[in-house]
Symmetry: C2
């Protein structure tokens, strides 16, 4: 016999999330302490872990929610008709991933489902992003047609991650994220040009 979830449960969880969001807004994601969250919510430490597997599970929830919101706004806009328009359309989404090293790390770690038969919110959001981009590619006219749109979209994600990785890295900081991304996408998404000399 499975009972309905108690009202109290939902209240407690909501309060934990609320407090966490406020703390993140003030100090950023990396600075979040579980002890501060429970203190702010007025519950014991153990309660936190009754609601979230671990600290990162809360992080996944917070970060994927923000990503999903930004992705939804991108999806509501017009279909981008070229590489530059696509980069611009995805900028808020990628900008958030680039905002904090910790955010990028968590996003990457949870971008795949954590366990068999369980697709977390982060994995869902990443998949939604691929689906959105694939739709753009299929509908727009300017992209190469010898590769299926969803494979191209997966590549866009791969290049985005590569660009962001290098953005966090001193070695290649000379070239900004969007500029690097542009070089990748021109080569990946457009019909090929003539062979280079040499």
């Amino acid at each position: 016999m499975v009972r309905a979830v108690q009202k109290r449960t939902l209240q407690t969880r909501a309060r934990l999330v609320e407090v966490a969001q406020a703390l993140v807004a003030r100090d950023g994601y990396a600075a979040l302490r579980v002890e501060d969250v429970v203190a702010g919510a007025g519950v014991a430490k153990g309660t936190f872990f009754a609601h979230f597997r671990d600290k990162e599970a809360l992080m996944e929830r917070l970060i994927s929610a923000e990503l999903a919101a930004r992705l939804a706004r991108a999806g509501a806009g017009p279909v981008p008709d070229g590489v530059d328009a696509m980069i611009a359309a995805l900028e808020p989404y990628h900008g958030f991933l680039a905002s904090e090293r910790y955010v990028f790390d968590i996003a990457l770690r949870y971008s795949g489902a954590a366990q068999v038969a369980e697709v977390g919110p982060m994995a869902q959001t990443f998949e939604d992003c691929v689906t959105l981009v694939a739709g753009w590619i299929a509908r727009s006219g300017g992209f190469r047609r010898d590769v299926p749109p969803d494979l191209l979209a997966e590549g866009v994600q791969a290049f985005a991650i590569q660009s962001l990785s290098l953005q966090f890295c001193a070695l290649h900081q000379a070239e900004a994220g969007p500029a690097r991304m542009r070089r990748y996408l021109v080569a990946w998404l457009l019909p090929p040009g003539p062979a280079l000399p040499g």
Copy 2:
């Protein structure tokens, strides 16, 4: 007046690394505890942190050493002349990255230099890999020539990371790593085929 490094220093550091490697060989990377390392080496905990900034600095050293060794073996072999040969040549390198989730995470986090004007061993190894692949592409005949080889090589790295990410993920486990990698590289490295129907 800057003094030479003491013999003792090198001995202690070598012993720490040695013990750590033995523990990793037995229990894997994720299970390594600093306290076990110092106990095995017969030194105090503080000594460890006099030799390594933190636990991950040791991890970077261990993991990048293994990666570099595998990369060197790949570089000693013949130049691969196509997508399948390239995947096969890089398999030991990628296989190690896929061997443990923790290894993959550390490798990614340190694949870029940590600080300005300091290129860590992991970043160096990743760069060496790109250089090696770029050389293969430039020397071999079968790849597209409308994009410079080093950009193509960076793309190979991006697709490898994408494939490995998805390998750790339940959602896409249906398709094995090398098979997925192959689809990406055919689209990325080869001259384009005719447009798909539809």
